[in-house]
Symmetry: C2
Subunit: 567 residues, 2 copies
């Protein structure tokens, strides 16, 4: 009730569109524990990314988000907050894009398209075709969830509701998250919507963005949990090259390597240039608890999405990556870029950050690539590459490098970071002696990222040869949230294939990591798996020491370790 009374007091201000100054990147308002590379709102609660689109005229990226600015907890009225960026790394808060009509309601998640050809009739010639932004969102009331359209005549900063709203109403309280894409072959707009508690992704088509026809339902796939949320289709480029080093020995080095399982006819077809990916979020009910984002690779013919296989895959195997959405448009035209909410509904409201609560993931660029999950298979896999522009105000300082160092118990490697900022990236390539796989010895090496003010706090990443898996341990903290929240899973593991088979018993692995105050994104083997997880040290106890060690002789060789601190 307290939260709600504040909302009423401030609501008149909200409609002005900007009540926080957009100077969060100004060093004078520097807040020590706030992520620098991951988007956070000035203050208050955020969750799902919404309405992602690229303005090709002004060359600006738009990010909207579920926003309750009055509190560090979710609440209503729930707005679409708005932020813009020229490089996908530095974002400027641009105020509230739009508000729900009533205080005890919400402008729930949705998407934006550029209606270049004015199929909707919302625009006249004065609006540049590249800026004809049309937003689709769910109007959440205590009675139902219906789908609304709003359009912008100023390039995405202010929006006008369509007079014919709602455009879709099935008298359901669980019908939400419209994501619209363009389907070139059928020359139609396609809208996907979660019929959440029926475990359905409803697929609609339209010629004009306001009149929609139900074409099909994709239901009961993957992990179902309590409900489906935030479905979305994207046509993703397929990268056809496949290094011979990565190939299983019984397969040939060719662009046409292709698992029989993807098509019914079982032939080694040439790979197409693209495949469709259906993104689908589930919450609660993830295997790790709470929220998870899965994806399916398949075909979409304008009416039906058919996955190539019935397998279940996760977009990110960490605990903090949810409600992913892809951008409409990209600077490159065919690139599929997207952002997720970097938290988990199990504990997102209780994490120890203030005055902001929750951040977005880094922007990722997605491609489909072939990879070998074991010695006998080649499968398609969605590959993630982080987009980071570090040329601007963030200075890239290479601080620490190691090459070709065999790890020995007697010689642990240690590095002290000068003037720790809590923001850095690292590259790691190592080799492991494969004869320790399925052995009886627990043979691991680990990297401890220790706090500068209190080294008893650390984040641990390692690899163990017998289980052939990476592990992440985020439990070594004095922060009460970390110690006490029973859903804040301490230990996670990540299975990934070797990046390269150097010889019959020597495999190499690659890891790229970004630490950003309290967010860690780990990209394994150039992004064939990603694990995104929050972690929390005591106030301003940034990573100040890096310790690499093993208890086992000569199993691991660090081929390359490079640590780059960012300010």
């Amino acid at each position: 009730m307290k939260v709600f009374s504040i909302a009423l007091t401030l609501s008149s201000v909200v409609f002005a569109g900007s009540f926080y100054s957009s100077n969060e990147t100004d060093t004078s308002t520097y807040e020590a524990n706030r992520p620098h590379l991951h988007y956070t709102a000035p203050s208050g609660w955020i969750n799902d990314p919404n309405g992602l689109w690229y303005d090709a005229k002004d060359q600006i990226w738009h990010l909207y988000f579920q926003y309750y600015p009055y509190s560090e907890y979710w609440g209503e009225p729930l707005y679409w907050g708005h932020s813009v960026s020229e490089d996908l790394t530095h974002w400027n808060y641009s105020g509230i894009a739009f508000s729900p009509p009533k205080n005890n309601t919400g402008a729930f998640s949705g998407s934006i398209v550029v209606d270049h050809n004015n199929t909707s009739g919302f625009f006249n010639d004065s609006i540049d075709p590249r800026q004809r932004a049309v937003a689709f969102w769910t109007y959440n009331t205590p009675e139902d969830q219906t789908q609304f359209v709003s359009y912008s005549l100023d390039g995405g900063y202010n929006f006008t509701p369509y007079s014919g709203n709602p455009i879709l109403n099935i008298s359901s309280t669980q019908h939400r998250d419209p994501k619209v894409v363009w389907h070139e072959e059928s020359q139609k707009w396609i809208l996907t919507l979660a019929h959440s508690q029926k475990y359905e992704v409803l697929i609609y088509s339209s010629k004009n963005l306001t009149s929609w026809q139900l074409e099909s339902s994709f239901s009961h796939h993957g992990i179902m949990g309590y409900q489906y949320e935030c479905p979305g289709l994207a046509r993703v480029p397929i990268v056809k090259t496949f290094h011979s080093d990565e190939l299983p020995s019984n397969l040939t080095d060719s662009d046409e390597v292709w698992s029989n399982s993807f098509f019914d006819n079982g032939t080694n077809s040439s790979l197409p240039d693209t495949a469709w990916v259906l993104f689908l979020s589930v919450n609660p009910g993830a295997p790790l608890g709470g929220s998870v984002n899965q994806y399916f690779i398949g075909d979409f013919n304008g009416t039906h999405f058919v996955p190539y296989t019935s397998q279940t895959r996760f977009l990110d195997v960490g605990k903090d990556f949810y409600a992913f959405q892809a951008f409409f448009n990209s600077a490159g035209g065919t690139d599929v870029l997207g952002i997720a909410w970097a938290s988990n509904w199990e504990y997102g409201q209780y994490v120890p950050t203030t005055p902001w609560k929750s951040s977005m993931s880094l922007v990722r660029n997605f491609t489909i690539r072939q990879y070998a999950p074991n010695p006998e298979s080649v499968e398609l896999n969605l590959n993630s590459e982080p987009i980071l522009n570090l040329d601007g105000q963030l200075k890239n300082e290479t601080s620490f490098k190691i090459y070709n160092q065999t790890l020995l118990p007697s010689k642990p490697l240690s590095y002290n970071v000068s003037k720790p900022t809590g923001v850095f990236e690292f590259d790691l390539t190592f080799t492991v002696d494969d004869s320790y796989y399925n052995n009886t010895i627990f043979a691991d090496f680990s990297i401890l990222f220790r706090g500068s003010r209190d080294r008893e706090e650390y984040l641990k990443i390692g690899y163990e040869a017998n289980a052939a898996s990476f592990y992440i341990d985020r439990g070594h903290s004095k922060v009460s949230f970390v110690k006490e929240n029973p859903y804040f899973t301490d230990r996670l593991s990540v299975l990934n294939e070797p990046y390269e088979m150097i010889s019959s018993n020597l495999s190499s692995y690659k890891v790229y990591g970004v630490f950003d105050k309290n967010i860690l994104e780990l990209y394994f083997n150039d992004g064939s798996e990603v694990s995104t997880n929050l972690f929390f040290f005591s106030d301003r106890n940034f990573v100040g020491e890096i310790d690499i060690s093993t208890k086992h002789d000569k199993i691991f060789i660090i081929r390359n370790f490079e640590f780059r601190q960012l300010r």
Copy 2:
């Protein structure tokens, strides 16, 4: 190498069939930390349960298992160990059932059928039809994995290899775990086999148990991880009753409530009496890390298994339940009973038990039931019920009961266990005020099971109203394995629907738990979800105190808590 030299020394003894005395239940050899209700071998390493069958003549249950008796680590020669039981709770070790032909090979996992009608020709009239045991197993050598048959002329204690072995050989090193069932309609034997790294379950049929024809392949379903293992088909009874209390408000109380999603025609068909379930293990690559057992509900027509849906589901959502196998036959005829290995390949070899390593799960009885995972759906679900016979040497002592107690921060409930044994069960029913769901307050209650010798060690189980999920925390231990093994996930969560909707904002949940020295099995809402997890306290620090508490007024009412210590 040390392990192997011991193997060579003892191998001549092995073939005698029994080199450990079978007195592990004798109190004179009582080992304080050994589970009493979960099967463990006298000493050494065990993994997958094998060859489960019921001898209807002598009314004896047979459990075989992957066994390396010379070490607490997996090794070769790998045997089929053997144990028998009259009540599925008390087991007697019966020696080595059979051995692989060579020392550096293994008699890998497989199954047993009763060849009542002597379709194989292995038996003559002197062998009772109910005891005509035929075993199928994978012969693992460094060169390949091929499928072998052995038969027993003495009711399952000793086995003779079939002269025509192998019965299946596809020149693969990854082709294993034959499980055979009888398909009544086609009057054929059906064998399922994992083509592990191709992500295929191969389905074969036979009239005579030795000549097999490939009928189909079930591939690329569910979580795939690194490889598939231990597939198995079973025809599971469907329980048609559905309590009106459990029904979503928009559905009627009827035996025919049935989700549209299960059949293409979308009608509310009557439920059949049974459905086929395909069990499938994956390791490594489980979402929680390492090993996991999934299942699919569908139809099997004698050649093809077709799941009703493409969803992914887990047989047990804990970390320690793998390589499940169902018994061939049951005392009741149609019951589907089964056992899993209660460990995880990520850390199973390193858990702090000695001289035995690993145990089996309790025997579970499976049915398919309808349940409502959210207010809008009714789905089929595999339900698990533990089989426990506590009438024999284990005495059932009701020690502690609570009825209708509203939890208050000022009045935590505490109970001290007299003469703790480390073996007990409990029943819990509680109600939760649903208005705290999706609220901003982290509102939980928890039960701490504390050690009797050191109460700083405890296992914690709780439920939080905002996330509407159970949690399990097994990390509060002084045991170095628990503190240091990075794969021993501390915190796990379990989502389960309410057992009963008492009113519009009052839900009730049920939990049944069995603690057995270092194994905890938790059955939520009469077994609609189960979570099985190992935990470790210091030596003989058995649970001696139970603390139930909350920090929040009047959200939770303990309707019933009953603790029963077992000796």
